[in-house]
Symmetry: C2
Subunit: 434 residues, 2 copies
């Protein structure tokens, strides 16, 4: 029977596997973590609003009833497209007839991997726990610190990169300081914490239309976030961040820095032997296969795809659509039919900023504020996999909304992670530690 191997079980990989549910094929889904992650809400775990199980589900459980699918929790060290095998970390080889590579992306520090220690990015549950720990511990340190300058540095939070994740992080951080923690400390006033959002471009949410960026900027400011656009980071260390702006260099003393500025594709793309773009993404044919290997498909954040003359953005709807197209094209090939070209259907963009505010664009319709936030809430709960998660997330959010409390304010370990390495990846089956 035809054996299809899918590497990575994010949105791309999972949607491909599901599309093949009734096909007469054998599927092996390989992921190095045991769970599918609802990435768009990961910032809520990082900011102590949701617990990890609320946004993650065991892959094995999701695919339990799909009898043609086998789940394997393993790291992939290489792909040999000539011999059509995937090599696992224990040197075990898995042969395939068709391969879908959906191992996603990781943070990119633009050549400054040494910044990773000081400014973690947000891609995995491990990242989210680490960021949560740093945020909560910073307030604890501020409470203990008697030196005023050092206390101020503990109470200054910097988010680098004002894309959707950066905007969400900054807005939520401001809410935590103003509302959640208010009244719980005796020596500091948590409301005086500074949240600084730094963006290299001249406006927040650069991929959005300028008027929505403006609205998001206004909503952030209202929440108490200091927005700094046109600001390029030149240095990050334990004590803070240095930017270059039009006015020259500037130093911000800030003990907690969160990186949401750049992504790079999973390094597994390198073993395919085809050209990569500057971000390490694999240039694919219009049917999502790679040149010379019609049996190998690359989808999701790892793929550099052009649709209707425009590059397809690295968002979850695009990954799902690519997963479906790759699955269809494998079935076409099996039947000897012509493969279909991938076309991205853009349903719109949506970013939340905090309690009750968001910006949205659906087709040509743009809206912002409370209505956009309600829409965002609905869309995200709807798309969360499984009724169970939906119920939990709704309970958590209803509670958080009415009480301003955040339910997951738990630091498992007070210690620093001993070996925090740059380049943690989501959906990645390659060898690095999660």
């Amino acid at each position: 029977m035809t054996h299809i191997v899918i590497l990575g079980c994010g949105f791309g990989g999972l949607w491909a596997a599901r599309e093949l549910a009734v096909a007469d094929v054998q599927i092996t889904v390989i992921d190095r973590s045991n769970h599918h992650l609802f990435q768009p809400l990961l910032y809520q775990v990082a900011t102590a609003g949701l617990s990890a199980p609320a946004i993650a589900a065991p892959i094995r459980h999701i695919l339990a009833d799909q009898r043609n699918a086998t789940t394997l929790m393993a790291s992939v060290s290489a792909i040999d497209v000539m011999r059509r095998v995937v090599v696992l970390d224990d040197d075990c080889e898995i042969a395939y007839d068709y391969l879908i590579v959906a191992t996603g992306s990781t943070h990119s520090y633009f050549g400054h991997d040494e910044w990773a220690r000081f400014a973690p990015g947000l891609k995995t549950l491990g990242d989210a726990f680490e960021i949560r720990r740093r945020i909560l511990m910073a307030f604890e340190q501020a409470e203990r610190e008697t030196d005023l300058a050092r206390r101020a540095a503990w109470l200054t939070f910097t988010v680098i990169g004002a894309g959707a994740t950066g905007v969400e992080m900054a807005g939520t951080l401001a809410e935590i300081a103003r509302h959640t923690l208010h009244g719980e400390f005796r020596r500091i006033d948590s409301r005086l914490a500074r949240v600084v959002l730094v963006e290299g471009a001249d406006r927040v949410l650069p991929p959005y239309p300028p008027d929505l960026s403006e609205k998001a900027h206004a909503q952030l400011t209202k929440l108490g976030v200091e927005v700094r656009t046109g600001c390029r980071v030149t240095e990050i260390d334990e004590e803070g961040v240095t930017f270059s702006t039009v006015g020259g260099n500037e130093r911000l003393m800030s003990k907690t820095v969160i990186w949401s500025a750049g992504v790079a594709a999973s390094p597994l793309g390198q073993s395919l032997g085809v050209p990569l773009d500057r971000a390490g993404r694999v240039a694919v044919e219009s049917d999502l296969s790679i040149r010379g290997h019609p049996e190998v498909f690359v989808i999701g954040d790892l793929a550099a795809v052009i649709s209707d003359g425009k590059p397809v953005p690295g968002v979850s709807p695009a990954a799902k659509q690519m997963g479906r197209t790759a699955a269809h094209n494998i079935l076409h090939r099996i039947k000897g039919e012509k493969a279909e070209a991938f076309r991205y259907r853009d349903y719109g963009s949506l970013a939340t900023i905090g309690r009750k505010s968001a910006v949205a664009m659906v087709g040509k319709v743009k809206f912002s504020g409370f209505s956009a936030w309600l829409f965002w809430l609905f869309v995200h709960i709807y798309f969360l996999i499984g009724f169970r998660s939906r119920l939990m997330v709704m309970t958590d959010w209803a509670w958080a909304y009415f009480t301003f409390q955040r339910n997951a304010r738990i630091v498992v370990s007070a210690e620093d992670e001993p070996d925090r390495q740059p380049g943690k990846r989501v959906n990645d089956t390659s060898k690095e530690a999660t």
Copy 2:
């Protein structure tokens, strides 16, 4: 104003702090973790039934409205009872007028600390995550393993010590194998997993009346747990466990071993300069203070207390009662009144074994099976701190009961903890890593 320092915010410390809520004193509560933990349900986090936030609440939040209380997240390195100061890990000293030491207990490997790597115990949220990781990863490894003997070792789970925690762990593990994971693997049958419960005494739940032990034994067997009483562990390594029984030595190949056999008191007791018992607990006077220092009280698992001629067990109701008595006695001392002697009120014992089974003893009334399980459920949810947690736990359990699913089956990191050290402690403010 009189300054009362409380070390450790488990049941003892927290109940002491609350009892002092309306007193005209200043209270500083010091704990090295940021949360109060509902220890009796920790095994549910370890077995992926509950998420960490469901059974933990930020200490700072619990005490936010108690205006005479300050929360400090810090590790304590020593107590100087002569100078009446507590020394923190950053050498900062905190002076007290009255001190309550409630730093709890840790695992004891009876002089075999080298076993800790292979057989983690269950005291902190970090422990629970590590045990959860090992259990879930063992099934994953079994699915990948082709050698039948090695696969069997991955599918053999050993719980050492059949006290309440051991019985709960073993029963839940059997349920996970029989129900939760059934049908999700393709190469192994999770129902064939062996769960072996090893106890040195001649029956499970040794502190309970013999007829309840018998009932618990029968319920465990029905769930599929192999109960081995009169079995002493002589060796634990990466591959399994060696016991000595009446029939001689026996070797069990088992990749996953959980330790619930022994406890030792927090080492902070050693800096008090008073006699300790064999388990390292501090012998206290009848009013819970230590000899020669009527301003220092020791409560909870760290205290060796005799009440009505019997030693008080290391359970949460005893810790809460001691917390209240210590608080009252401090107020008596402040007013120049006579201190009261501690008397333990034993409300009964309660241990759950799995879905629908438990054993209970309330006063002289003993019962078991479904009614005991319902009672257990009610008592545990009732005592969980805060309405929020109660709601979450109820939702989680209702779900788990009707679907056999376990909602928290998430492994954050697939890697081993790099430096797992023996002697992780709950409520402990001393220096070791959590």
